[in-house]
Structure formats: structure tokens, C-alpha cells
């Protein structure tokens, strides 16, 4: 069964690595729903969040292939219940409508939208949330003339993760002494996690 999975990938900050990771998906004709790269909790280490909809088996295999890449330190995959995730959305609507129709103003507020810019022609609102919410807001704004809409990639934090600090110390040891085990890469498959 296909499911939405969020990958969290810790990497070196290397030119070309984005391509190396992206072709893992395109080679298998898998569509990337969302991709974000950003700094991580550790200076010099990058963090990718990639969202795909696939079976767990496919995801597991891809994650292993990704982790095999020389400049990748570690890759995890999680279902939505194991992560806290957010996306940012921006909406541009005509200022006239917002001013005229009190309903629109209220609507936006009920969705937690925040004004980030106002000119006499347009107003830009921002919401932070999950896709279903932002999608809903577009739907209700559409009749009032939504000029522009953009949504960011998903960023996610794994609920059970202790962050990468400790792991990095193990990685920096030239001769690791204990197998590195992961408890949150996959619940069912703790016997086949990658060291």
C-alpha cells in the first residue's frame, strides 16, 4: 500500500549532491511531492526533507541507496504520525476585496492567516500549516479573486529523534566500536536497519 513518507537526510554541504539525490527518485520514476534543503542543528551539515508517496518497501530501498552515497551521513523515513511538519503558504488577494468584504477578512483570520504586506492594490497573507489547510483556504479564496499563490516545501521534525549531535560523534570516530542502531527509521524492521 502506498503511503506518504517524509525522508530526513543529513548530508555534507556539497555542490552536486542535490542532483545525486534527485536522480535516485527520477531513475525509478518516482515523483517528489516536496523537497526542502536547509541547514540542520549542526553547523556545516545539511538537512533534506523529501516527501514521496510510495510503498514502505520502495521507500526503504531508496533510503538505503541514498544513505550509500558518499556525502550522505544518514537517511530516515517516517510516516506522518511520527513527525511534526509544516508548510508555509503565501496568498496575494486584491486589497479592495479584503477591505470591502468583511467576510474575507474573517475567513482569513479563521485560517490563522497573517498579513505580511499591504499595498493599495494587493494584500499578501501568510499561513503556516499542513497541506490540507492551505488547500482549503485556496478553495474558499478563489471566488474572491486570488491573484497569486505559492506554497513552500514541507519541513519536518521527527518526534522521537534526539537530533544528530551524538550520531555525528560516532561518525567522526575513525573506528566505530558499536553498531549504530536506529530506532525510528522503521518500527517494524528494527532488525534490518542500516549501520
Amino acid at each position: 500500500m502506498k503511503n506518504e513518507y517524509t525522508l530526513t537526510i543529513y548530508t555534507e554541504n556539497q555542490v552536486g549532491l542535490l542532483n545525486r539525490i534527485a536522480i535516485m527518485f527520477s531513475r525509478r520514476k518516482i515523483n517528489i511531492d516536496s523537497l526542502n534543503t536547509s541547514p540542520s542543528e549542526i553547523d556545516s551539515i545539511h538537512r533534506f526533507n523529501i516527501v514521496i508517496t510510495e510503498t514502505e518497501e520502495t521507500v526503504r530501498k531508496i533510503v538505503r541507496q541514498i544513505e550509500k552515497q558518499v556525502d550522505v551521513l544518514k537517511a530516515y523515513y517516517n510516516t506522518n504520525d511520527k513527525i511534526i511538519w509544516q508548510e508555509l503558504a503565501l496568498y496575494k488577494v486584491p486589497t479592495a476585496i479584503v477591505a470591502e468584504k468583511i467576510k474575507v477578512e474573517r475567513l482569513l483570520r479563521s485560517y490563522g492567516a497573517r498579513v505580511v504586506a499591504i499595498t493599495k492594490d494587493y494584500t499578501i497573507f501568510e499561513t503556516t500549516g499542513q497541506r490540507a489547510e492551505t488547500d482549503k483556504l485556496i478553495e474558499v479564496l478563489a471566488p474572491y479573486g486570488l491573484i497569486e499563490f505559492v506554497r513552500s516545501a514541507r519541513i519536518a521534525i521527527i518526534k522521537d529523534s534526539k537530533g544528530f549531535h551524538e550520531k555525528l560523534r560516532e561518525f567522526e570516530d575513525a573506528e566505530p566500536v558499536t553498531p549504530l542502531t536506529d530506532d525510528f527509521i522503521s518500527e517494524e524492521e528494527s532488525n534490518s536497519t542500516i549501520v
Binding site: E12, G16, R20, R64, V70, D71, L73, S192
Partner: protein, 578 residues
């Protein structure tokens, strides 16, 4: 470069001097014990070639005739020497000509460091003359690649390149160096080998619990079958492997890349796996109770249809690459790690056994195969020669001591099936990619990798025409290789499929060849061509005894087929004997 690497302090550090990037490249090669480079010059790599002029006494450069030839030679060198092959090419077309070899080395885990020249850094992205985006073209077919635009990076990046290419599961690395970095002078403070990269775990740690589980499973097994691949050779674990199978009396079958890791006449060597493998190992894969895979990756040419593959068996999978575990066949016991370390740990826990009855089943199968296929192939009564009898006669003369390099097609399958091997690293073939044109240049490299050994390239009349220009390399450098063309006047393997599966609709498999002996002679290489059985022995002996390179063409049956065969889409039990 923000990647952090730790390095081996023990290696020489020289006093700081100013040298060019090109010199730094060559110093790196020397520090890595490189003795041979296969390459082809051009504009963007000229500074390195200029520096090479002064390093001629320390580095032997072989000028090939085509960069594809260069990289296949590098592969052949790596396979017989166990070292990393080094290849030079210029930018643009020089670099793109490497792609087939990179893909081949990637899928067959061959350690290579390829160095390509690139246009000046300030011209990157401008469609400059001979500029190609080599890094992005080669990303899917390299274990790692990197573009150097500043000479200061050269020592550390090359140290990384050699470490990555040769460690863990080996593979090809490509380093693209812009021309400005090649000419740039910088303060050189010596070369330090790399032995750790924090983001790279070449060897997963062996887990004791799986060692115990594996040993227990093998001890309880009544019908164990070991299947082994190139991992045994790459891990230099031939001895450890032998002790493992001998202690518990485990019959062992090989993939074509595992071939020669275990001597052909070892009593527990039960033959070849897969599409054109032996009858016994294929059908008995579906009868064993425990399947122990060592350093192999369950390629579809080995497994046939997966849902009919070893369903009854418990699977133990030893591999250094964790991403291979469960990729194609689910493992009950995954033993990650270098088999040189994991095998002895398992062996220590094994009970001494000999599975006589079970092993004898393989002999029974072999008798059946001899009768149906092998007898006729090795000792035909027909007038036309078979590929099998040529290999058989070759065995008689080499005693199994030669390195055999094969191309791709029927002759490859026949050579792998019937060639005799006494020692490891003796079989060089393009397994995963199946690259026609591989053998001639790979044989050149194989000879440089093992100069004391006899090297025989077995090639089809089709494949030899893909890289025949490398006869020029052989001529110029007096490379002592034997070229045995098995000429069936067809693209034989494709013709066989068309006969069996496309109702003999022979679509573009009828291939005409030049007078190969005349071509060889044109390159000042001696040769002979025969089509009669009574000439075979002498012709082969002449080929082997000749001083220097020699080409022998043997005309064999036009429409002979390779059997047994597991047709594509069938399970291994459905193997056909005719």
C-alpha cells in the same frame, strides 16, 4: 570542500614547495602506488600531460586508441591486480567516451579513478569549446565524482578519490579538473592518504547476533547451498571462503563475477548459476533448505523469476553493501560486513559436516547435463566446431592457469561455463552491464595488472568490431595478449533469442566481418584463421606459444545455441536443456 576527512599522519610530508596542480596530480598517483595509466590527451588535459613528460620514469602511460578502450583497460587492470585502475581523458568528447566504462565499472564494482580535464573555471557554463557537464553526466554511473577548480584541493581530493574507489564496495570515481587548476601554482605540503570520511561508512560493523544465527541455521541445515559472487574476490577472502565451505561441506555455486574465486576442480564447486549456468545449481536452488549468498547481489540473470526463486529456503545474505540486503531477495539473516571478517566468524561456529547425499545430487544433475548438453558441446561429432570444444582444448593447453577475458554474448557464456581456473582474479568479464567491446581493451589492462600471467581474450566476431582499434595500442606497446575470436558469423546471442523466442525471425543479426587476420597483420600482429577441427589444437598451441600478441580466429557453427537456459521470465527450475 567542507567535507571533513581525517588522514593518516604517518604518510610522508614534504617541506612546502610551489608546484603546479598537474604535478600534484602525478605526485598523488605515485603516493598511491599507481604504476600504470591508460589515457588519451587533448586540450583540456594538456597541462597534466605536459607534467607527465617529466614523470615518465615513474608512471607508465599507455596511449589507447579511444577513451572507451582506456577505461576498459583500467577495468581489466583493476580486476587482475586487485588495485585501482587509473584513466586520463580530456574534456568534452574524451570524457563522454568514458561513460560506458563508468557504467560498467559501477555495476561490476570495479575500483577506478578517472581524471578528466575540463575547460577553464571561468568558462564553465558558457558552452566553451569541448565543454560538457561531465559531473552531471557521470553522477549516476560513479560512486563519487568531484570537480576541482582550485589546485589547492588536488592532494586532498585525490586522496579521497582513491580511498572511495577502493574501499567498501569498490567503484569508479571521476575527478574533473579545470585547466586553470592544472596550471595553477600552489604551496604543496605533501600528500596524505585518506582513511576516513565521516559521511562514508565503507564497512558496516558485523553484528554478533547474526553471525550466531547464520551459523546455527547452517548447522541445522540438511540441504545447504552457497552461492557466491565477486564479493569474495573483492574482499580478498578466497581462503576464508574455502575454509567456510570445507568445514561444513557446503556445495558452492558461482555467479560469473564470482568465477575463479574457488578453483574449478574443487570438490565443492558445483558450477555456475543463472540463465546459462549449470543445471544442478539452478534446479537445486529450489530444493535447498538454506541458501547462503556471499558477496553477490541476486541479479535477475541469476535468479530468473523472483517469485519462483528459492521460496522454500531460508536465506542468509553476506554483503558489505547494506543496500543489497533485501533488495531483490529477502534475507532471513542479514550478515552485513566484509566477508573476509564475517566468514571466519561464522566458520568458527560451524560443525564439521559433509552433506554427502545432498552434494551427490549435484553430481547426478551434472551427469544429466553432460548427457544432454556438455558431451556434445565439448566433444562434438558434427563437422562444424563448437565454441565449447575450443575452450576445452584451450584448457588442455593452459591447464587453467591463464587469465581469460571475455566479451559479451554466446562465447562469453560458453567460456565462463567451460574455462578452467586454478586461481582467483583470473576471469575478467563484463557481467552486470554486458558491454560488447569490453574484452579487447580489458585484456590489455589485464596484462598490465598481471604481467607474469598468460592473458587470453575470448571475443565474438561482433564484439571485437566494437573496439578493434585497440589493436593499435597492442601494436605500439607490444602487449602480450592472445586474441581468440569465436566467429559464428552472427550476433550469436541475439540470434539465439530470435530463434527461440521470435520464430527465427533473424532481424539484423547477420554480421559481416573483415579478414581479421589481415586486420591484425595491418597492425603488425601475427594471426591465423581456422575452420577445421584437425587444426584446432595446433593453432591454439601456436597462439599460446607465440612470442607477443597473436590473433586466432576460429570459425564455429553458425547456429549453435548455448544451453542450458533459463528463459527470461521463467523460474530457475524451468531451466531448459535444449
Amino acid at each position: 570542500m567542507q567535507t571533513e576527512t581525517t588522514t593518516d599522519k604517518a604518510v610522508t610530508t614534504e617541506i612546502v614547495t610551489e608546484i603546479s596542480g598537474s604535478e600534484a596530480v602525478l605526485k598523488a598517483l605515485i603516493a598511491e602506488n599507481v604504476d600504470t595509466i591508460f589515457g588519451y590527451p587533448g586540450g583540456a588535459i594538456m597541462p597534466i600531460y605536459d607534467a607527465l613528460y617529466d614523470f615518465n620514469d615513474q608512471l607508465e602511460h599507455i596511449l589507447v586508441r579511444h577513451e572507451q578502450g582506456g577505461i576498459h583497460a583500467g577495468q581489466g587492470y583493476a580486476r587482475t591486480s586487485g588495485k585501482t585502475g587509473v584513466v586520463f581523458a580530456t574534456s568534452g568528447p574524451g570524457a563522454t567516451n568514458l561513460v560506458t566504462g563508468l557504467a560498467d565499472a559501477m555495476i561490476d564494482s570495479t575500483p577506478l579513478v578517472c581524471i578528466t580535464g575540463q575547460v577553464f573555471a571561468h568558462l564553465l557554463g558558457t558552452d566553451a569549446f569541448q565543454e560538457t557537464d561531465v559531473i552531471n553526466i557521470t553522477t549516476p554511473v560513479t560512486k563519487w565524482n568531484y570537480q576541482i577548480t582550485d589546485a589547492n584541493e588536488i592532494p586532498a581530493i585525490l586522496a579521497k578519490a582513491f580511498y572511495i574507489a577502493g574501499s567498501g564496495r569498490p567503484g569508479p570515481v571521476l575527478i574533473d579538473i579545470t585547466k586553470n587548476a592544472q596550471v595553477q601554482k600552489f604551496e604543496y605540503s605533501g600528500y596524505t592518504k585518506c582513511n576516513h570520511i565521516r559521511s562514508y561508512r565503507p564497512k558496516p560493523i558485523i553484528r554478533k547476533e547474526y553471525i550466531r544465527a547464520a551459523a546455527e541455521m547452517i548447522n541445522k541445515s540438511e540441504r545447504p547451498l552457497v552461492i557466491f559472487g565477486q564479493g569474495v574476490i573483492l574482499g580478498k577472502a578466497e581462503q576464508e571462503f574455502k575454509q567456510f565451505i570445507e568445514k561444513a561441506g557446503l556445495p558452492a555455486a558461482w555467479t560469473i563475477l564470482g568465477l575463479s574465486a574457488l578453483p574449478t576442480d574443487h570438490p565443492l564447486n558445483v558450477g555456475m548459476l543463472g540463465m546459462h549456468g549449470n543445471y544442478g545449481p539452478n534446479v537445486l536452488t529450489n530444493e535447498c533448505d538454506v541458501l547462503i549468498a556471499v558477496g553477490m547481489r541476486f541479479d535477475d540473470r541469476v535468479t530468473g523469476r523472483l517469485d519462483r526463486y528459492a521460496k522454500q529456503a531460508k536465506v542468509i545474505h553476506l554483503d558489505i553493501d547494506p543496500s543489497e540486503i533485501d533488495k531483490n531477495v529477502k534475507a532471513d539473516v542479514p550478515v552485513w560486513g566484509d566477508c573476509k571478517e564475517s566468514l571466519p566468524l561464522i566458520t568458527a561456529l560451524l560443525e564439521k559436516r559433509n552433506h554427502q547425499d545432498w552434494v551427490s545430487k549435484f553430481s547426478t544433475c551434472m551427469e544429466k547435463e553432460v548427457e544432454a548438453v556438455i558431451q556434445n558441446e565439448l566433444h562434438p561429432t558434427d563437422e562444424v566446431m563448437t565454441m565449447g570444444e575450443v575452450i576445452y582444448q584451450l584448457n588442455q593447453l593452459t591447464n587453467g592457469d591463464a587469465v581469460i577475458v571475455t566479451d559479451v554474448g554466446q562465447h562469453q557464456m560458453v567460456a565462463c561455463r567451460y574455462a578452467k581456473f586454478n586461481s582467483s582474479k583470473s576471469n575478467v568479464t563484463s557481467g552486470g552491464l554486458g558491454t560488447m567491446g569490453f574484452a579487447l581493451p580489458a585484456a590489455i589492462g589485464a596484462k598490465y595488472g598481471a604481467p607474469e600471467r598468460q592473458v587470453v581474450a575470448v571475443i565474438g566476431d561482433g564484439g571485437v568490431q566494437m573496439t578493434i582499434q585497440e589493436l593499435g595500442t597492442i601494436m605500439q606497446n607490444n602487449i602480450d595478449v592472445r586474441i581468440l575470436i569465436l566467429n559464428n558469423r552472427f550476433l550469436g546471442m541475439v540470434r539465439q533469442w530470435q530463434q527461440l523466442f521470435n520464430e527465427k525471425r533473424y532481424s539484423f543479426v547477420d554480421i559481416e566481418s573483415p579478414d581479421f587476420v589481415a586486420v591484425a597483420n595491418g597492425y603488425r600482429i601475427a594471426g591465423n584463421s581456422i575452420s577445421k577441427r584437425e587444426d584446432l589444437k595446433d593453432a591454439l598451441a601456436t597462439m599460446l606459444n607465440h612470442k607477443g600478441a597473436y590473433l586466432l580466429e576460429v570459425f564455429v557453427g553458425k547456429e549453435n545455441n548455448v544451453f542450458p537456459m533459463v528463459p527470461q521470465g521463467c523460474g530457475v527450475s524451468e531451466i531448459r536443456l535444449k
